[in-house]
């Protein structure tokens, strides 16, 4: 069993007990425990079930590479799934539940998958998606849905908050072990601005546990001195519990810092995302121990050797009383010595090498520990816990020589340098035969903007494992990265660490053993799965990964990738470097979405643009709709009134009397200069240079392909100044479009632009009584003679400086009044007060839409979708035939766009008076090759017309304008159809009498 030792524990404080629950049972640990060490101290080795076969799984590692021991952490609005117990600090009141089992962790129904393993082979999904189809619906999917998935997704809104911060430095050092500390020291001493990040809460990496002397000092003493000096350097910033998760272009690094994970609800943000821009990056990210592939290597109680000594030394937790060590390298002997020192039994060290030797081996031998060379584990015995191992020859097929009872197994298959951050931006790797590992190739680093190396690896991340060599490597990486390649080669050549390849144990294992050797513990991928993929023709490691799901779980194969590709290489009869690695992609460890979102949630998810009248809309019960970053009133429902009824009332009131619209969101761009007219003639499809001062003209803009992009009314303010109104959503885009042409194509033209959208409030005064209201407000002549339709004039209204534009988007007598933004609300309220006697009422965007549709006016984004030309919409009158050139002219001349054989704009009146559904297609005879009904057009705007009291629509119909009076059929969402008669799109006041009075 696993238990707390009576003494020791470098990181725990035995005086501070912390109570927590696991699956509802109260347990206790100490301050300084991780959740994993506390579970082990309570003999809770079984912590989860595997993804596919629901096999019992225990704690395997002691760091972020842990694949098994994931839990649902917290509850309700602080529930987070897939949290690694090995990196979760214990705190008082912590609540954790195990994942992926039903009905309970101890008794799990899904484990039948384990016995049905031969029915869930590699590539199961690919093999069954096509055929048989019925089996998916009735058999596979229901079963898989029940058993699939790791943690539970939280349902409640996250109670925590998160923040983001920016930082800049000359040198960013990732990893606070000996190499990283030394790199930070050497860079810091030179005066560089240094940031040093460590993912764990403690500094020193493996050194304090492994206990080697560093620079002639005890590891702990060296560590204390190094930290003291670093803290004293004003140009060095240290952050522990901060994981660099990704390296991006030009020295950009994201790092997630844990702040209040262990003190939920203390008022601080739970995590902070650092966005760091570094001159260069040192990756002192260490190495991850690899499992060995022997049968039953996933049974709870089998652990990585270094993790086991972490638990003993750091937390005074013994994972087992009798631990068998199995290894292909010297490092695991440290675990044997640590266990012995703690008074625990090590019945045997099984070393796959034929003749292990060296100081650690000798030290174990001197302690009287039995060492068996050339031996392997044939099979681990046990179910929810290791009960023993069967021993065999590594060179053989697995014939059992001896059985040894034990309750834990410590395994070491060598070390894989953590090359993720090196690789994220394209750093290349070399295979090192002595270490059986991929190492960063200093000759092919990821490059910075200036072509220099952006990332420098140091220490174990560069394959350097001996303490004094690590110091040198860190020193050079921090101070003199250019000479690193040379130094690294020398350090590698000098070091005595050798790890022979042992990819399968025993090397000739029988099929029944290979089917129980786990490569990817989290996704349940075994040696036999990768071998099957190879037999089925998967030669590329990227394909094999997707076919078998090797390395695709939340741990992204930190333990499994190298073992998996080695097995694949063997099966293909190729060398490992030939097979290569899969791509390393950020993030290195999962980052919670809240941290990535930071403060950008709820109200401040994105900026909110408010018109000067926004507050009034809010306080008068407006129902808003988003328009770009604006919120515009959709309608102003009165108490008890539905939105549809409100829209109806607003339309009728405006048509009969007087309506008021906040049109301030309209784009307002000033175009000015000696060449402004010439420029606008290029920009608009129609002529703007000829527009007289004091007049307005409706204009269309196309992109170079000839498709409609924006529209609006242009007013000529003076001889060389035009004011271009754009759509509400298009103002910034169109301003950018103007600048693009002025800066990049016609840079010698004398034209200036300014986007004045937010400088003015614009209020539309609409309806037969509009003039009466303005006359009552007083200050300028708004008569038909002084201010005719499509003219504008400047003056004041109700004492507020104003420009009045005689333009109409409703078909009624209408003035759009622009006033300085600061007086927008005053003008709005003046209109309402003075308009009371005329029955004035504000109206929203939906009434605006209904009224413009009744008049057959197009709306960018409704009638257009980026594939529609002005000619398609019957707007030939607004496309100049005289101009030699304008943007989109050549595009429109392409034969498909100029063809008469296109869908063109018409109106529709339903025969039964109903409203055609949004997005409906117009049906044609027959069906296409996919069995779908042929279509001949589609609806683009469809409304109930309160004015006409039936459904009206606009849409694009094949040869539309030549088919007036014909009845066509639209499909409906309920599967039925609705008949409509093709009509003129202008349903209301066809001659325009009402707007021109």
């Amino acid at each position: 069993m696993s238990t707390r030792l009576a003494s020791g524990g470098r990181l725990i404080d035995r005086k501070t007990t912390q109570k927590f629950t696991f699956n509802g049972t109260w347990l206790s640990g100490f301050s300084g425990d991780t959740l994993a060490s506390a579970l082990l101290a309570n003999d809770q080795m079984l912590v989860g079930r595997s993804f596919k076969y629901h096999r019992p799984r225990g704690i395997l590692a002691s760091g972020p590479e842990e694949p098994n021991a994931l839990v649902n952490l917290g509850r309700d609005d602080r529930l987070e799934p897939n949290q690694r117990t090995t990196t979760t600090p214990l705190f008082d009141g912590l609540q954790a539940t195990s994942q992926n089992h039903w009905p309970s962790l101890e008794f799990d129904i899904g484990v039948v998958n384990n016995y049905a393993a031969r029915f869930l082979p590699a590539g199961f999904y690919y093999k069954t998606f096509i055929h048989p189809r019925a089996a998916w619906k009735h058999l596979f999917e229901p079963v898989i849905r029940k058993s699939a998935g790791l943690g539970r997704a939280p349902k409640d809104r996250d109670a925590d908050r998160y923040e983001q911060a920016y930082a800049f430095c000359d040198v960013l050092v990732v990893g606070g072990g000996i190499a990283g500390l030394q790199a930070a020291l050497s860079a810091g001493r030179r005066g560089d601005r240094v940031i040093l990040l460590e993912q764990a809460a403690h500094w020193g990496g493996r050194a304090p546990v492994d206990g080697d002397a560093v620079g002639g000092m005890a590891a702990g003493d060296w560590l204390t001195a190094a930290l003291e000096e670093l803290h004293a350097l004003p140009n060095v910033t240290l952050r522990a519990a901060c994981t660099a998760t990704g390296v991006y272009d030009h020295g950009y690094v994201l790092a997630a810092e844990s702040l209040a994970d262990a003190t939920p609800g203390d008022g601080r943000p739970r995590q902070r995302l650092w966005r760091i821009r570094a001159g260069r990056i040192v990756t002192a990210t260490g190495a991850i121990e690899r499992p060995l592939s022997f049968a039953g290597n996933d049974i709870p109680g089998v652990m990585l050797a270094a993790a086991m000594r972490d638990y003993v030394v750091n937390h005074a937790v013994s994972p087992g009383d009798r631990t068998v060590i199995v290894t292909n390298n010297d490092d695991a002997y440290r675990t044997a010595l640590v266990l012995r020192d703690a008074g625990l039994a090590v019945p045997v060290i099984l070393d796959a090498r034929p003749a292990p030797a060296g100081p650690l081996v000798e030290a174990a031998r001197a302690r009287g520990i039995r060492i068996e060379a050339g031996r392997a584990i044939a099979k681990v015995q046990g179910g929810k816990r290791v009960t023993g191992v069967q021993i065999c020859l590594q060179a053989g097929e697995g014939a059992v020589l001896e059985e040894i009872s034990c309750d834990a197994v410590a395994m070491s298959g060598g070390w894989s340098p953590v090359v993720h951050l090196w690789s994220h931006c394209g750093g290349k790797l070399n295979w090192d035969d002595r270490l059986s590992a991929f190492l960063p190739d200093p000759a092919r680093p990821p490059l910075n903007h200036d072509g220099r190396a952006m990332v420098t690896p140091a220490g174990a991340a560069a394959g350097i494992f001996e303490p004094d060599a690590i110091l040198t490597s860190g020193e050079v990486a921090g101070a003199d990265p250019d000479s690193l390649g040379e130094v690294q080669d020398e350090l590698l050549a000098r070091q005595s660490v050798v790890v022979p390849p042992v990819w399968v144990m025993p090397q000739g294992a029988r099929a029944d053993l290979r089917a129980k050797m786990w490569l990817d513990f989290q996704n349940d991928v075994k040696v036999s799965d990768v071998q099957l993929a190879a037999r089925e023709g998967y030669e590329s490691v990227e394909h094999t990964k997707r076919y078998t799901t090797l390395g695709m779980a939340t741990d992204q194969g930190k333990l499994s990738n190298i073992n998996g590709l080695a097995v694949l290489a063997q099966a293909l009869g190729e060398d490992i470097p030939q097979v290569g690695t899969t791509t390393f992609r950020p993030p290195y460890t999962p980052v919670t979405l809240g941290t990535l979102a930071g403060e950008a949630r709820g109200e401040i998810f994105q900026p909110l643009r408010r018109t000067p009248v926004h507050g009034w809309h809010e306080s008068h019960g407006a129902y808003f709709e988003p328009v770009g970053l604006w919120r515009r009133p959709y309608c102003y429902p009165r108490s008890g009134e539905s939105h549809a009824d409100a829209v109806k009332r607003e339309v009728l009131n405006t048509r009969a009397g007087l309506g008021l619209l906040d049109a301030s969101t309209l784009g307002k761009i000033i175009v000015k200069g000696p060449d402004a007219g010439r420029f606008l003639d290029m920009l608009y499809t129609n002529m703007m240079s000829t527009l007289p001062v004091g007049k307005c003209r409706y204009g269309l803009m196309c992109n170079e392909q000839g498709f409609l992009s924006d529209d609006g009314v242009v007013a000529r303010l003076d001889e060389d100044t035009w004011l271009c109104h754009t759509t509400s959503g298009g103002a910034d885009r169109i301003h950018g479009w103007m600048e693009d042409w002025l800066q990049c194509e016609w840079w010698d033209w004398k034209v200036y632009t300014a986007n004045l959208t937010e400088h003015y409030a614009q209020i539309a005064v609409v309806g037969p009584k509009a003039r009466a209201l303005l006359e009552k407000l007083g200050g300028m002549d708004v008569s038909k003679e002084a201010l005719p339709f499509m003219a504008w004039s400047e003056g004041s209204l109700a004492g507020i400086p104003a420009r009045a534009f005689r333009i109409s988007f409703s078909g009624e007598l209408s003035y759009e009044i622009a006033v300085p933004a600061s007086q927008g609300l005053a003008f709005w309220e003046a209109c309402l007060a003075a308009g009371a006697e005329f029955g004035i009422s504000p109206y929203g965007t939906e009434a605006l839409h209904v009224m413009r549709a009744e008049k057959g006016f197009i709306m960018i984004g409704d009638e257009t979708d980026g594939t529609v030309t002005p000619l398609d919409l019957g707007l030939a009158w607004a496309v100049s035939k005289k101009k030699a050139d304008f943007l989109g002219k050549r595009g429109m001349e392409r034969n498909h766009l100029s063809s008469p054989d296109r869908w063109q704009l018409v109106g529709f009146e339903t025969l039964d008076g109903s409203v055609i559904p949004d997005g409906a297609y117009i049906l044609a005879e027959g069906s296409n090759d996919n069995g779908q009904r042929n279509v001949q057009g589609r609806v683009t705007s469809t409304y109930y017309s309160p004015t006409l009291k039936h459904g009206i629509a606009m849409g694009l119909l094949h040869h539309g304008p030549s088919r007036m009076g014909e009845v066509v059929e639209f499909n409906k969402t309920d599967g039925g159809t609705v008949k409509a008669r093709v009509a003129d799109p202008v349903f209301y006041d066809k001659t325009g009498e009402k707007q021109n009075v």
């Binding site: 030009h250 600048e739 050549r890």
Partner: protein
């Protein structure tokens, strides 16, 4: 998250401050051009793995468009220069050739 130095205002800007604008030095073909010319201008854009000339706008800064020469494979930036030119200036070409001796325009 690349960084580019705006030649107009001199700010070294983050990618989030910039708006991309596809290939630089396109010659516009308007009315009167052949279908092949128009196609080359409108659709047949270069997409090299290596040296590329691009348009960028310092959209959330000074608002000016500028041009950049960079390597799409290694992320190296050879230089940025004002948009008011029809071909890369000599200094930019020299900077490219200094690092890519075999490169041909």
């Amino acid at each position: 998250m690349l960084t580019l130095t705006c030649p107009c205002c001199g700010v070294t800007a983050e990618e989030t401050e910039l708006a991309p604008g596809y290939e630089a030095h396109l010659k516009r073909f308007g009315p009167g051009s052949t279908d092949a010319e128009f196609e080359s201008y409108m659709f047949a854009r270069k997409n090299p793995k290596g040296v590329h000339f691009e348009r960028w706008r310092h959209a959330y800064g000074c608002g000016k468009w500028f041009l950049a020469a960079r390597c799409t494979a290694t992320l190296e930036v050879f230089g940025t220069y004002p948009a008011q030119t029809t071909e890369p200036p000599a200094a930019i070409l020299d900077a490219i050739r200094a690092r890519r001796p075999d490169w041909k325009a």
